[in-house]
Symmetry: C2
Subunit: 154 residues, 2 copies
DNA sequence: CGGCATCCTGTATGATACTG
DNA sequence: CAGTATCATACAGGATGCCG
């Protein structure tokens, strides 16, 4: 059984155009290991530079430039805040656009958990029922979509 | 409204360990632009080397080494086939493991289509009803899972 | 057609040291 | 704490040419 979309594209070759494919455009913004790890940390609630560096296991240099890029791209905001009696600090917080990337992160995590088993490994579950989660393709009408039901159009 | 998992992790710092995070492990395998583009083409039904090169817009060198890596990682198979009277050729076909990565590709594509608009851009829809598709997080019990219902455990 | 060999550039990342 | 500056390494990717 091969999983294909053969014949469903009017002109597959047009997909080759560099900035035409949304996958490629997305990869331009978050296609680095460091960006993904920083977004993972932001989703976990990390907001401070030092915590990003330590928890994502990045150097300050990498974390600094990548965080700036993510802020510029609108995935994170850098906001000043001041607790009473403390100096001003900055916190990095996910924007709605950044939060929209979470299905992607979950999809990556679910694939790795299933196909690249490793001990120990964190797993992700539904708080309501405890069942493990995965990403699925669904249409706006709520139907589950399998690969052979997926069509692309320009 | 911030989308966070704050406090849901027993020890966020443990996530920093290099090969502990499934996102990072997955990225080791498919964390390059070329790998994603080749998998996209495989999903579109591309099977021959030359078509991969042209449609993904890669050089032969890159396509060659990346295809080999994807075969070694079990995402593609390289199989000989021979049409009557023709010489033996090879075709690259998605394995079930490779097909399992499709939700990830759709998630990346959906994010780019929404947040990095570009004309023209292909869109993806459900063949059955024509509605656009997106990746959704779902638990094994079939419940839709929102970010704040997502828990991680080691 | 389906590659491999070679050379080259850009960038992602790391290591270390320093600053306000 | 939150970075910047500098140096060094590894790898992705492009360009060109050759081969069975």
């Amino acid at each position: 059984m091969s999983v294909q979309l053969e014949g469903r594209l009017a002109n597959p070759d047009r997909m080759a155009r560099p900035d035409f494919c949304p996958i490629e455009r997305t990869f331009k913004v978050v296609g680095t290991r460091s960006a993904m790890l920083l977004l993972r940390e932001a989703a976990y609630g990390t907001t401070r530079f030092d915590d990003f560096v330590r928890r994502a296991g990045l150097t300050e240099t990498v974390a600094s430039s990548r965080l700036r890029e993510l802020v510029d791209a609108g995935l994170l905001t850098k906001e000043p805040y001041r607790e009473p009696g403390q100096r001003t600090r900055y916190e990095y917080v996910l924007t709605p656009a950044g939060a929209d990337l979470m299905p992607t992160l979950v999809a990556l995590a679910a694939w790795g958990a299933e196909h690249l088993p490793h001990q120990p490994s964190p797993s992700y579950a539904h708080a309501g029922c405890g069942a493990p989660v995965a990403a699925r393709i669904e249409c706006a009408a709520g139907h589950a979509v399998t690969m052979d039901q997926l069509v692309a159009s320009a």
